[in-house]
Amino acid sequence: MPRLMTALATVAALALPGLANAQDMDPNVAARQSLMDLYAYNLGVLGGMAQARIDYDADLASAAATSLYHLSMAGTERMWAEGTDNMSVEGTRALPAIWDNAEDFEAHEAALVTAAEAMMEAAGTDLASLQGAMGGLGRACGACHQTYRQPE
């Protein structure tokens, strides 16, 4: 029994710093990082098929691409709240330039919608179409990260 208590205490001690971090994180930062994770979740299906790691399945590809498209359309205005850049809050690599060049940043967001829409149209057609649309998505993600995310 004492051993179990010790084990539980250890688990709690290990887990708590993580909880503390999650609570400390600015909710806007947490929300946009969650959105990025959901992009990656759907890209995993599309990229996996593009690289022939998983068998091409038109329905699954279409479902992932449709989800990605809807996610790209999500209203993100509140997530990118003023004062949530990497100079102001912890846990983000978002550069202040996002707010300095708001119009350009929005153009990057629009480019993602366009690329996701192209993928939605391509994904269910055949594997070659899906593969052809991956590059556009990569460029849309890369172009914004290149300019507006602090390199690691």
Partner: protein
Amino acid sequence: MLGKLAVGLGALAVIGGGVFWVLTEPSDLSADTRAALEAHPGDTEAGEAVFWTAGCASCHTAPGLSVGASDEERLTLSGGRAFATPFGTFHAPNISMDPDQGIGSWTLPDFARAVMQGVSPEGAHYYPAFPYTTYTHATPEDIADLWAFWQTLPADATPSQPHEVSFPFNQRRILGGWKFLNFSEDFATPAFDDPELDRGRYLVEALGHCAECHTPRDALGGMDRSAWLAGADNLVGEGHIPALPPEGWGALDISAYLETGFTPEFDSAGGEMADVVANLSRIAAPDRAAIAAYLVALRASPSQ
């Protein structure tokens, strides 16, 4: 006695100076290379593949060019990007087809000597920020194709900026000494006797110049080839540049990354690699696969 010593020292100085002068003499193309350049009919399509693999656009396009930029913007080699290194700040020159501000008035041998030997048409050494120690391994045929493609590129009249380099590095003649120490005609890794791996070796070691950032450098800025692609401090910015291949990445991960910029976790390439991806996404898939195969093969090599 003193007189003899003075004469001796004087003689040594003359000999030393003479040796220095000979060692640092800017080299010219060999007769074989010239003949090969002349014999090869330049192919613009093949030259475009060389262009994207060699990554000329990574440094010589306008500062801040987006990875989403059009082909036309990525082919305008107006220069102007600054590279702040421990040796000074280098400004990538205009190498567009403009005859005055760019290199539009050059001949094929001028171009080949610049790219493969780091020597200007006027016979001056270029700084090794220009990766000619990589390009020297390229075939004359690839260089002739590249120059043929160059003829199709736009002219841009943006003037080049002078480098900001202080003494002694502003004495270009001493770069001959640097070349003496660091210029090797040998590839860093032995041939594999496998067509795909050898193609990958050529693409990485003769054109792609991955090693220029991913291999550590000594105090004089020469690559430490015993730690080939083993990761390095970032010479032009913050942070550490990872070893190749990245831990846990397979060949498919690498070729997909070079094509789309997506990591295995579907994060996207940042920093200088965003430009590298913008270039390598434009080469043929089998060449990306060859680069990936070569990098994965390095994992088993003793230097890793």
